[in-house]
């Protein structure tokens, strides 16, 4: 386009948008909080890496166990993942069912009571669950585990022989499941409650039964919430220290046998048990295992994010 008349460059004052003081303060503090979280995270990462380096560079003889670092940490990673996975597999379906019961099936007064109980359970310290696991669940599950071995012994998971004390990987998994159940339930319940009435009615008006309505409207809407809740629970299970430390006497072994007496320990439990007696490179080794746990947690969360984002278009948030 030709511009025949060049309009004189009138002094255009730098047009800064007018912003209220309160808005500026709020924006600043919100940004500050966001940045702070990143700084803390970076600080933790830097600390872990810096302290772990000596363990990576040390010769194998100096390390606890006298072999290479991967051999030391490997079984711990395995134990951590296995126990958390068992817990997640047990807890997630149960938590979703409980949350659905509270939100869509229970009479209102019962639902309120149940909601409080679930919130309360989430606040119970993990050491209490650990004590319950070792004092109640372990002996009580002995007959059950014996039967598992008798009937399902051909599956490597239940090959046995059954631990005499009942302190097995399976008991740890169940204990962790009970521990993370409340948090997954609480998150799922909140999301289910937010299912738009509109969508529930749309399903009902098409002639859906309550269960069909839940499948059509509630579960798809709550999907990302369920995943978030499960990830929160998984994070707790991965990092759980006391419950695992109390129940398992770990030996650096890698086995899928869930009911025998020799089990791998978990990273967090191992750190808690070994730290008081460790010096020098041993401490760095423990911190290196902590770094591995940090990375695992980060990976797990990224995968969860990715799953949630994959079908963002269909999330109902637009």
């Amino acid at each position: 386009m030709s511009a025949p008349t060049t309009t004189p460059a009138t002094a255009t004052p730098s047009t800064k948008p007018v912003r209220q003081l309160g808005d500026r303060i709020f924006a600043g503090s919100a940004t500050g909080a966001g940045v702070l979280i990143l700084i803390v995270l970076a600080g933790v990462a830097v600390f872990l890496i810096a302290q772990a380096i000596p363990a990576f560079t040390a010769s194998p003889e100096e390390l606890p166990g006298g072999r290479n670092l991967a051999v030391y940490i490997g079984p711990l990673v395995f134990g951590t993942l296995l126990s958390a996975l068992i817990a997640l597999l047990i807890a997630t379906p149960l938590a979703v069912a409980v949350a659905l019961f509270i939100t869509h099936y229970a009479p209102r007064r019962l639902a309120q009571g149940l909601g409080y109980v679930v919130d309360l359970l989430a606040a119970v310290p993990s050491i209490v669950y650990g004590l319950w696991g070792v004092a109640v669940l372990a002996p009580a599950s002995l007959p059950f585990m014996t039967r598992l071995q008798d009937y399902l012994g051909w599956i490597p998971l239940f090959a046995g022989p059954v631990s005499a004390t009942g302190r097995t990987m399976l008991v740890v998994g169940v204990t962790l499941a009970v521990m993370i159940l409340p948090i997954i339930t609480a998150v799922s319940r909140e999301v289910f409650l937010q299912t738009p009435k509109l969508h529930e009615e749309a399903a009902l008006a098409l002639g859906a039964t309550r269960w069909e309505m839940i499948r059509m409207a509630v579960l798809p809407f709550g999907r990302s919430g369920i995943i978030s809740g499960a990830m929160l629970g998984l994070g707790r299970a991965l990092g759980e220290t006391m419950a695992v430390a109390i129940i398992l006497s770990g030996s650096g072994i890698v086995t899928f046998n869930l009911i025998s007496s020799s089990n791998p320990s978990s990273i967090a439990a191992n750190i808690a048990l070994q730290f008081p007696d460790s010096t020098g490179v041993a401490v760095n080794t423990l911190i290196a295992s902590g770094l591995v746990l940090f990375v695992i947690t980060l990976l797990v969360n990224s995968i969860a994010r990715w799953i949630i984002n994959r079908r963002r278009e269909f999330s109902g948030a637009n």
Partner: protein, 259 residues
């Protein structure tokens, strides 16, 4: 397809609160019946009682009779789920399932009925329903996109397509245009005119011009005061209601001197 709805001395309660009292109404097959009246007069409640959707609210119940071609909709042993499969509903705000594609939205009802149709038959059903809702040409190239990607008017027509895909006997519409712009409203009104060749349609509307444009019969609901039950004042052919109603209240309402 296309059945008559008859209400005989129908009372609708929420718990102990009588919301709508003594409705006698005859809705003929293949007609459009508009329900008008001030807010809170019970017209939506009555509409929702036709497919038993008001029972979603705990404590809701009815007394009296409501029949679909002579069959009692509230008889013992009648499953509300079955009633809703026969009597479709379109809501005030468009509510396609956000987690489903346009295609899946249309066949949502079909899936519920557990009818296992082949890919070809399902494709045909989707096309027929979307054509029936005057939406086919606008969405045929993006059937796999989420229903929420459409405009409000298109979403509402998608909901109509979803409702007619299961070939209901009656189609209920609860203020289907109140969230739409005038052009989308016109599209829906045209659609209602076409749909009445196949379906019995009952529409609740706040817009009296709309009632006059689309309906064959009009029922006027009114309420004496807050806390009182709503009731059907009179029902007649639409042109009678708007030109020479028998009741003074109706005349006041349709001429805008009231409510």
């Amino acid at each position: 397809m296309s059945k008559a709805v008859t209400a005989k001395n129908l009372n609708i309660y929420y718990g102990s609160f009588l919301a709508v009292e003594g409705v006698d109404m005859e809705i003929k097959p293949k007609t459009v019946t508009a329900l008008i009246g001030p807010s809170g007069c019970g017209k939506s409640t009555f509409l929702r009682s036709i497919n038993r959707m008001h029972e979603v609210i705990p404590g809701a119940r009815v007394e009296g009779k409501l029949e679909l071609d002579g069959r009692d909709l509230y008889g013992s042993g009648v499953d509300p789920v079955g009633v809703r499969r026969q009597i479709g509903m379109v809501f005030q705000r468009p509510n396609p399932f956000p987690t489903m594609s346009i295609y899946e939205n249309v066949i949502a009802g079909q899936r519920l009925n557990n009818k296992r149709a082949g890919k070809k038959a399902t494709d045909e059903l989707v096309e027929r329903s979307l054509r029936g809702a005057n939406l086919w040409n606008e969405v045929k190239d993006r059937l796999d996109k989420p229903g929420s990607s459409l405009s409000g008017g298109q979403q509402q027509r998608l909901c109509i397509a979803r409702a007619i895909a299961v070939q209901p006997d009656v189609l209920l519409m609860d203020e289907p245009c109140s969230a739409l712009d005038p052009i989308s409203t016109l599209a829906i009104e045209d659609l209602i005119n076409e749909l009445k060749t196949d379906y019995t349609i009952v529409i609740v509307t706040h817009n009296m011009q709309q009632a006059a444009r689309v309906s064959d019969f009009t029922g006027f609901f009114n309420i004496e005061g807050t806390g009182k039950p709503g009731h059907l004042v009179e029902m007649d052919e639409t042109k009678t209601i708007f030109s020479q109603p028998k009741q003074k209240a109706t005349e006041d309402y349709v001429s805008g001197r009231f409510g």
